[in-house]
Symmetry: C2
Subunit: 358 residues, 2 copies
C-alpha cells in the first residue's frame, strides 16, 4: 500500500500534529482511534525508551499512527557562548527567584540514537522536522515498514525530501504554531502562507501533501482538501483538548488571547517558533538573533519556562500557538476530530450547491 | 441591496485585485464583463481625471466594478532626509547611467482631493488600502451610492474598518503580492497567512469577507469559499494576462521565477511589498528600515525603476508578485476568470463526492 493509499484509507483525513510539551500518547491514541491519525511527539523520548513507547501505542490502537522526531543538530558550544547566553537569561531567572543554571551536560537526546531506536520500533509513519534524512536513513525506515514524512516550509525543502525518498510532505505554512521546520533558508525566506505553500508544493512534487498551518475547524479541513491537500494536520486546534498536556497557565492564556496575538520568536529556543506574544518575547525581540542555536537556547531556558509554568506566570513561558488560535475550543480529541470532519462534509456539500452550474 | 447581496449576485465571485503599474482599465472591464468584478488601481489617477476615468468604466460595462485608492499620508520630508535617501540610491542611478534625481516637488497625489473626486464619481465599489477612512468619509461614499471595502492584514484592522462603517473587508494574507495594507501594527505583527486571516476575520466581524493572498486558480477559489470567504480577490494570477500592463521584463522574470522566489521588501517604496527577490532587494535588505516612508521612497526610486524597465534589467525593478506566482499563466483576463470558476465548480463537486457520508 502506498502512503497515498494509506492516507485515503483513513476514515477521516485529519492528522494530529506532534506537539512536544503539549501532547503525548493519550492524544495520539485518541485521534487514531477516532479515525484520524495521531502523531506522537517523540523529541523528548530517550532512545532506550523508544521501543516501549511505540509498542505501547501499537497495543492501544489498531489504526495507523505516526511518531515524530525533531532533528536537533549535535552542537558543542564553547563555554564563552554559554556564559553569554546565560548572562542574558540571568535577570529572568532572578525574577523567578532562581539561580542562573550551570552549563548543561547535554542539550538534547542524540538524534542518531533516537533514529536508530525509532527505525527498530517501526511505527506505521515516521515524520521528521528541522532537517533532512539521508537516502540510507529513509531506506532503513522503509525496510522496517515505516512510511517517511518530511516537514517542509518551502518548495525547495519539499523537493529535497522527495529526492531522499520520502513518502509524503507535511507542508507547514507560516500560520503554524510552535517550531517551524525550515532547514535550507532563513526564517524570512521560509515564511510562506499555507495557501501558497500547499498550492506550490503540490505543483512541484509528486507526493501526497499534508497541509498544516491555520487549519482549525471543518471549514479549514474542507478548504485544504479543495486546495489539493491529501490530508490536513492540525495542532493548535487540539491545544484545549482534554488530552492536551500543556497545563492550565498555557491554556488560560490561549483562551484569553487577543486578536492577532502570535509572533515568531527565536528567543526561547534558538529556532523560530510561533506563540502568543508575552513579555519575554517582547523584551528579547531585538536580541533574539544573538541567542545560541537550537537546541542550546532551548535547554538553557528550560528551567525558566518550567518555573514560570509552576508559578502560573505566562509571561516567561513559551505559549506556542498558531495564528488562528482564537478558533480553538475544548473537547475530547476524538470528538473534535469527528466534529471537524462532519463540519467539513457539510461545508463541502454547501460549496457544491453554491457553485453548481445553473 | 446589501454589499453581501451584490457579491452574491455576481455570476462569478472572483474580484481582480487593483494593481497599480500592472493593471488598468482594460483588465477591470474584462473581468467585470466576464462575470467577476474588476478593480481599477486609481492611485496614479489625478483628482481632476477621476470623473472621466470612472465614467469611462461605467460606459464600457453594465456590471459592477470597483475603484481602489492607496491612502498615501501627506508627508513633508526634511531636505536632509531626502539627501540621505538619494545618496543611498545614487550608485543605483549611476549604474543605469543616470544622474541622481533632484528633490521632487510632490510625492503622490493628494489623497483628500482624490477621495473627494472619487466620491463624486461614485463607482459601484470604492476600496481603500494603507490606512482607514473616517466615518464621515464612509458616509459620503454611501450617500453617493458606493459600497466601501477596507483592506486589512489583521483582525484588528478588519474590526477598525467595521467600526467606521465599511461594507466589506478585503482580508489580505501574507502571501499577497505587491504592497501590503497594514496600518495599525508593523509588518511583523501584520504578516498573517490567508488561511488564518480569513478564518479569524470571519469570526470577528459581521461583514462580507473577500479573501486575498495566494489564490491562483480554481482550487484556490474553492478553498477560499470553503473557508468562509464571500468572494476572492486575485492579483498575481492576472500578471501574465493579455490586459496586464506590467511589461515584458517583469513578465519574463515572473515566468522564469525559481521556487520560493518572493520576499517582502521596504526598499523600493518605504512600505513593505512582496515581489521577486532581485539584486536591489538583496543589497538593500539590511538598510530597508532606514529608507523614508511611503510615498517618499516610492517617488525617489521611480526613475530608477522606469529606467531599469526601459533597459530590460529586472535587477533594479520592483517585480511585485505573490508567493504562489509559479501558478500564474497567460490568457485573456475574462477567459482566465471563467476558467478558474469552471475549475472551482469541478473541485467543489469532487470534494463533495470525496467527503460524502458513507
Amino acid at each position: 500500500m502506498s502512503f497515498a493509499e494509506m492516507l485515503e484509507s483513513l476514515p477521516i483525513p485529519i492528522l494530529q500534529a506532534p506537539m512536544a510539551g503539549a501532547s503525548f500518547d493519550a492524544m495520539t491514541v485518541a485521534v487514531s482511534q477516532a479515525g484520524g491519525m495521531g502523531n506522537l511527539a517523540a523529541a523528548g523520548v530517550a532512545p532506550e525508551e523508544m521501543p516501549a513507547v511505540v509498542d505501547d501505542l501499537r497495543a492501544r490502537t489498531d489504526a495507523p499512527f505516526g511518531v515524530n522526531l525533531l532533528m536537533a543538530p549535535p552542537l558543542k558550544p564553547e563555554p564563552a557562548e554559554l556564559d553569554a547566553a546565560l548572562a542574558r537569561l540571568a535577570p529572568w531567572y532572578a525574577e523567578l527567584g532562581l539561580p542562573t543554571p550551570d552549563h548543561p551536560n547535554r542539550f538534547s537526546y542524540d538524534f542518531d540514537a533516537q533514529l536508530e531506536a525509532l527505525t527498530r520500533a517501526a511505527p506505521p509513519v515516521a515524520s521528521f522536522t528541522f532537517s533532512i534524512l539521508s537516502p540510507a536513513q529513509v531506506d532503513a525506515l522503509h525496510a522496517a515498514g515505516s512510511y517517511v514524512v518530511g516537514t517542509a516550509n518551502t518548495v525547495a525543502e519539499a523537493r529535497a525530501w522527495a529526492e531522499v525518498g520520502a513518502d509524503g510532505i507535511c507542508a507547514q505554512g507560516v500560520e503554524a504554531g510552535g517550531h517551524h521546520a525550515y532547514f535550507l533558508e532563513d526564517i524570512e525566506a521560509s515564511s510562506i502562507g499555507t495557501f501558497a505553500l500547499v498550492a506550490t508544493v503540490r505543483q512541484a512534487v509528486d507526493l501526497p501533501v499534508i497541509a498544516a498551518g491555520g487549519i482549525m475547524d471543518g471549514r479549514g479541513v474542507a478548504a485544504a482538501l479543495a486546495l489539493g491537500a491529501d490530508a490536513v494536520q492540525m495542532g493548535s486546534a487540539f491545544l484545549l483538548a482534554d488530552e492536551a498536556i500543556n497545563g492550565p497557565t498555557w491554556q488560560k492564556a490561549l483562551s484569553a488571547a487577543p486578536d492577532d496575538a502570535t509572533r515568531l520568536t527565536r528567543a526561547f529556543s534558538g529556532r523560530y517558533a510561533r506563540g502568543l506574544e508575552n513579555r519575554f518575547v517582547r523584551e528579547m525581540h531585538d536580541e533574539q538573533e544573538k541567542v545560541p542555536a537550537y537546541p542550546i537556547q532551548n535547554r538553557l531556558t528550560q528551567a525558566m519556562r518550567a518555573a514560570a509554568n509552576q508559578a502560573g506566570d505566562p509571561e516567561m513561558m513559551s505559549l506556542w500557538a498558531g495564528q488562528a488560535i482564537k478558533l480553538a475550543g475544548p473537547g475530547a480529541a476524538g470528538e473534535l476530530v469527528k466534529r471537524w470532519w462532519a463540519e467539513a462534509q457539510e461545508v463541502a456539500q454547501a460549496l457544491a450547491r453554491r457553485t453548481a452550474k445553473t
